[in-house]
Symmetry: C3
């Protein structure tokens, strides 16, 4: 029904003209044109500027801005401005502000000051959206709708009474009866016998709550925010029958605040915000991992939109290093190489005032004549030369890494064998080993179709459905390779431990039975008899029907199996019972790739090569994240420099090259 | 009046059949019988399963479980199920939930959701207890009553208005008049002149409260919980005239949440819960220290019951390592060697659901065919062979270490010279030096009779009564050896500094006068001219009548006395003004033991040997906490292996041996 | 109008006789006389002892104490006892207790339990003050009035509704209209469009508030407390037409809780409390820095009073080391050398009870026969010999270091490029480099007259007015040397970023333009091509009209300018774009001093020499903070030892010498 919002690749950013006087608007549009900007996001924080009092709307300024942009050929991604309810709304209805787990209520003055379960907020928000859609849906500049902003970013969990009432209704729908709920949650433990729906607690306060309750609250909160999105979608669709409607996800290296893979079916374009962490020495791999995650949740692995990233320094980290020269360009093209059909920034012009005054913009504090200004213009020019990439798909990945928000939520809350672990750490560690070897992976949900993959990695998939376990087993049955790690298959969807030995859901597939966990203290390291080293985790296990590849070489479990391998059907299933350190993990991945018959798709040490394909055209993206020049064997036309490449392409340190080939 | 609940040594654990279907109950009883279980604790979290609505009781399931156990020869320790008020009670009376110091109220959903000063809670709890006692007091399976669970574990301090009103009444009783209170607390400081009992503050909020107020609040809270225990005791005793009634203490290496040595007079059996800390490399010594503490507070140093410990991994630590092979057996017998007449676990069958789903059970997640299952059965068999040990006493200790909860509370709260110190650290350090040399010590209260000890150690006994100081002095007078350390005798029972120079209460005994404290920064280390090293603490002091053993070798107090010794009567009194590091402390303890004429009671490096005695029989427990085999000279029958020992017993690494001798 | 309260230098401390029985008062006065005490502060915590019930006053005990002191020639600094409202006032009006940012209300039981914006508190406080002034203003012993205690120390920010209403009125006064406020705060960002004064938020809760709002709240809170001081001043002045009235500041090494340089115009005597930090290895320089700050805010750089410091151990630090021998004397004279005309302590006699029971006194716990007692008496004797110093001024400093509370507040709150930095760190680092070379500096406010300085250092002056920037530029124009560091001149007084490149306010003066910040991670270090090293900060910058002294030698900004220098008028302006490590900073300061033609004023390595001057007399203070003896060339009479000095004075390690010379 809907079409991609831009003709070529999208390029632009959030534009907040309300912060500037109209004379600056003219300069802005001139600079946008110079930079090749073709789309900007308007209105994210404009509620108070549009509805100046309850039911009193002022459109003149926005009319003028949209017309100005349109006259200059710049399209608009129009946001419903619900991220920041106006001060008058908070004053009239303070109850819409979210309540924290400790039962303190949030205060006006920042953003995200609303509860997704507030009927009052819903009423005001939908009225605002309706008036906005009514006025602008037909405007030819408006090519995309943008519901709210990073939904759940600051209001992902609300514990107000209205939310708890909605939670109880949600539970009633899910469980049907209190008997079912009592059984599923195991309320006999600690004597929480529920005899009335109105007694069902929320995970409020500092209490040590039931893990099933906590997981259900996470699910409920995701559903509440999705319901808000869908309500806005209906309102907009009434006026805009074909324009795509989206909202910006925040897919990062750990479990998401809401369950995006389930949301993806409800947006017309999957859009993501991604910010690199200046203290992460591997931010390029973080980009690859997150982009592989977003692609993995995009229906048909089709194109998605990078809705926000940063030109340089962020403002929210403890230490906000600016980006090094060329990092801006490399980061943007890193997303595009992995499936983004546009690269937008937050924000166009850096603010001088307000909370994020030190977050740089495409027009930075220093002005357009600056490192940032020059790289923005250069990027715009490159993207124009890559216009045809739009609509192409990323080459088929032969490897899948399973990643699940419910597993992450369950893994990260409550009393656990090791409370210092982050859910995304192990998936990202396995992805890094693949990325280092230039092997492309899709990071997909447990319910994804795994039938096309030659290698499936299941890292710390704590919670697993029987269906997923069966699907993983079938990969090996049909000749593929499966790797399952520690802390996988431990609990079922009710967050109840699967009995009989770990990793219960995969025990038969792997031919192992683990009895007990021996997590390591922070800083502690262990060793296998193969020489491999590990951190964080080890297990007391035995094999029932598997070959032992390596044994523990010390500690309480010395002599016990650590890494195992089992022939399954025409394939293989590995179990990794400890958290291998990077060098050992890299080596192990090398063996597994050999086993699966997978070769790197190009590049070599330090060069990240990914292909995008459309019909008979292939674009080879080569990103050099290191200091040294790197080479890749490829033929075609290099689109950044415009030069023909006969055989070998040299990619200078820190640079990106894109070669167009015809098959 | 009451008798020990089991014929031989108690063996079993908490049993929560409500979490399982009745078909599992049959398997449970079969496995219990196989393992030699003779007692289980029932009902701890069963309130909601027994009183399903206000005043509506359902007994059928519990009748059935008790009968099933009884038919199979397993006794019952029946708990009053007040640890978790039912959801309907919280819904009807949310005011019974405790209020934290920051004035947030606790939330339903976990355990311990009640205030000991709530009249409403008291009414409901005593009705439940009465109905339970009425129904089961006469049942032959019920051999022990168990009031609540770890009283004060989650509700040790409540700051609700009802509690504060009770606190004021408690103070009125204690002080008689506001004039006395103003004087004792020194309210002139910071101008807190109290003119009305209703103005007396509680230590609420983040304020820097008066230290005397804080200590009195600690005392009051202990008394409130004890009063609850005693009220339940009265109700049960009405129906069960001779069955022993207890509650499970939580005696650990630091000051307790309530003042157990004072509670010990009110329970019919002293029972303790003890969990090793997986990050503690000396958990065997922790067990010894805590067991020596429990024995020290048991009237007549008589037997006590280990009511809970863990088969393996706990759930509440940041990193919950499972126990190494043999650790389960060694830990249990470690408690029994030091006076426990039973070793019970939490819990029988590991839960799959609920907050503690990762705390293992005697039937672990992996099932009975597992390391845990095998060691549980082996332990049961060993305990059966040790049945006669029941009722024996631990050999007389020649050393006493003073330990006091009031001293610990005063030491650990408020503005202090060094706020990073834990009260139990120094007592445990001295105990460790004794334990390493296999010298048995009683860890006793300051009001204990010290007349039988040859060596009395007074480590950081911050608060001290005149009577205690006199009792310590008399030890030296009659020829014993006394060691007093820094931060002892500093304040009186009103938590007021004793003037005239530190350690005031012991100044005359020691012949020293300390003027000022020079605590060290974390990580800082100091040295004495004897080569000894210290951490955390040093002092500027002088001797008035003592020999200087070592002087400070650097820093602001260089040249000043550090360790001193004074001949007192026919004995000796040492003062240690700094916190000696382990090696230096060990060496110093060696000298002191020589001085006191105390030899190790057996064993040697790495072997922990303790004797239990009854009439003419002696059981020699030898615990090997190391990897290497160790020997001890002993004759008799070894009860674990069943072999006779002529002269030398070899105890393999990680194992325990128990030799029965006849004197 | 007012005159200095003591004939010679002030010597004494806080005296709290309410904590002691009258027989102790007689001993106190005897010991004071022995020690040479000439002034004590009375009444700080006496409200409840004076107004024993609402409107019921009891003066007898205070009459007696003042008369006793007067008879013994000891003057009184009489405090209005508002630091601790009596318990009956809190009970009757709990609303006067401050509310924290998280909206929890403070609790009775400690001090500072009042909100400066509470009309109720103001009424009670002024009545108490009026009654006190009425009774004692004419008493000949009362030579100084002391309003409250460390105003704002515990109640510097209150977020109660009454405060927020006052804040809105304050804003209305400041901005005139909401349009102005919306513009100044940039409320368009995050959509905080204010349409009604009653909607203006306070920086409550954990929200990420607007930085301009936060800064204005800091300013408002300072003004509220000042308004309270001024209201009390009016009341006292009515009865005491000529007695000086003061309050004790808390000037330390970082921004103050209230804006003291602005308060200084409103007190008759500038008085400061200073406590050394036992974990600071350079506490002597901390004293110098803070004393230079206090002198810098004293009108005419005239004398000020050290109202409180400590004889030895403090009570509020995590680890409270006592002072080393001689440290007491050195610290006191360190303040006097830098302009204090008196050195008072908190407190006379160490408390045995109450929150600060471990804070030592001039009569310590060990009694007067002690290290502290002896040094107090020795100090009293030395101060008596220095009586003529009173009224002299500190020699003229040729160096100024700019320091501003508003800059510090803005620097330290909200989202910043590096959130781990303390505002005072860099000013103190530059001061330390000067102090190490024995070069005296005034630490002054940005609005100070800079016309007499040869070198002006502008360290991390984040917020700057145009007028200040112009004044700094004029220093260079007229031939002086100016050093500006990173993070200076970044925002204007509205806390809005100055655009066009950093450090915007000083860009033209320095001839540089910095585009982006590259803060370093904690523990990270960088290097310049000059060999200098730096931490915490670096920048991507270019020179527009300056000489490059050193370039970055690595990292993302390698090759870029780091240190620059520009000839301006007849002077020079340096820019330091990174945080130099101590050794590199010392070396750089050496060059800058050479450039400015400034030589050390005496001393040498390790000897701190400062002169005070009156008419033709000069007192040369020489403080030796090291272990080794040090020499200084000087002639005159040494007043500590009483010996004549011909040419060279030897100052033994840890000692102070004061030579009186005549010019």
């Amino acid at each position: 029904m809907t079409k991609w919002p831009t003709a070529g690749l999208g390029f632009g950013g959030d534009y907040n003209p309300e912060q500037w006087s109209p004379d600056v608007w003219d300069e802005d549009v001139r600079l946008m044109t110079e930079a090749g900007v073709n789309i900007v996001t308007l209105g994210v924080f404009s509620w108070g500027a549009l509805e100046v009092a309850d039911g009193v709307f002022e459109w003149a300024w926005l009319d003028r801005v949209i017309d100005l942009l349109h006259r200059n050929g710049i399209s608009v991604d129009l946001a419903t401005p619900i991220a920041s309810p106006p001060a008058w709304l908070h004053a009239a209805h303070p109850g819409i502000l979210p309540v924290n787990a400790d039962m303190t209520q949030r205060r006006p003055g920042a953003r995200d000051g609303w509860c997704a379960n507030s009927a009052t907020f819903r009423r005001y928000a939908l009225r605002m959206t309706k008036e906005l859609a009514r006025r602008y849906a037909a405007h030819p500049a408006v090519v995309l709708w943008h519901v709210g902003n990073e939904l759940g970013g600051g209001n992902g969990r609300c514990y107000c009474d209205e939310s708890v009432t909605a939670f109880r209704a949600w539970l009633r729908e899910r469980y049907g009866s209190l008997d079912n709920l009592n059984r599923a949650w195991g309320t006999a433990f600690w004597g929480l016998y529920l005899t009335d729906w109105s007694h069902v607690p929320a995970p409020r306060g500092g209490e040590t709550h039931n893990p099933a309750l906590m997981l259900d609250y996470d699910r409920f909160c995701s559903d509440s925010l999705l319901e808000h999105f869908r309500a806005e979608h209906v309102v907009i669709r009434e006026f805009a029958p074909t324009t795509p409607i989206t909202t910006n996800f925040m897919v990062g290296p750990h479990q998401d605040v809401v369950d995006y893979p389930h949301w993806a079916d409800h947006v017309d374009v999957v859009a993501n915000d991604h910010y690199t962490n200046p203290s992460d020495p591997l931010s390029a791999q973080d980009i690859a991992f997150c982009a592989d995650r977003v692609r993995g949740m995009t229906p048909g692995r089709g194109p998605w939109l990078l809705m926000e990233h940063s030109v340089s320094a962020h403002a929210w980290y403890p230490v906000n290093r600016a980006k090094a020269p060329r990092e801006l360009i490399r980061d943007s093209l890193g997303h595009i190489a992995r499936g983004a059909d546009g690269a937008l920034f937050f924000q166009w012009r850096a603010s001088l005032r307000g909370a994020e005054q030190f977050l740089q913009g495409m027009v930075p504090h220093a002005g357009p004549d600056s490192k940032i200004g020059r790289e923005v213009r250069e990027l715009g020019a490159v993207l124009a030369r890559l216009a045809d990439v739009r609509g192409s798909t990323v080459e088929r990945a032969r490897v899948a890494v399973l990643f699940d928000n419910e597993a992450g939520w369950a893994f990260s809350r409550g009393l656990k064998p090791h409370k210092g672990l982050g859910y995304g750490d192990e998936p990202r560690a396995w992805h890094r080993a693949l990325w280092t070897r230039n092997v492309l992976a899709d990071v997909v949900s447990p319910w994804a179709d795994l039938s096309t993959y030659d290698l499936v990695i299941v890292p710390t998939l704590f919670l697993v459905h029987d269906e997923c376990a069966a699907r993983v087993a079938s990969v090996a049955q049909r000749g593929g390779v499966v790797v399952v790690t520690w802390m996988s298959g431990i609990v079922d969807p009710e967050n109840a431990v699967r009995p009989g030995g770990y990793p219960a859901a995969f025990r038969d597939l792997l031919g192992v039975r683990s009895e007990e966990f021996f997590p390591l203290q922070p800083g502690e390291r262990g060793r296998l008899d193969s020489g491999a080293t590990f951190h964080s985790w080890s297990e007391l296990m035995d094999v029932t029907d598997a070959e032992i590849i390596a044994r523990y070489a010390g500690g309480a479990v010395a002599g016990g199996p650590a890494l195992t391998c089992r022939a399954v059907g025409s394939g293989t299933a590995y179990y990794v019972s400890c958290a291998l350190e990077p060098a050992s993990l890299d080596e192990f991945v090398g063996q597994v790739l050999d086993d699966a018959g997978i070769e790197p798709s190009g590049g070599g040490a330090g060069l990240d090569v990914v292909r995008r394909e459309k019909d008979r055209t292939v674009w080879v993206f080569a990103l050099n994240h290191g200091d040294e020049d790197r080479c890749v064997t490829v033929q075609g036309v290099e689109l950044v420099t415009g030069e023909a490449v006969d055989h070998e392409l040299v990619v200078p340190g820190h640079e990106v090259r894109v070669v167009r080939q015809t098959r």
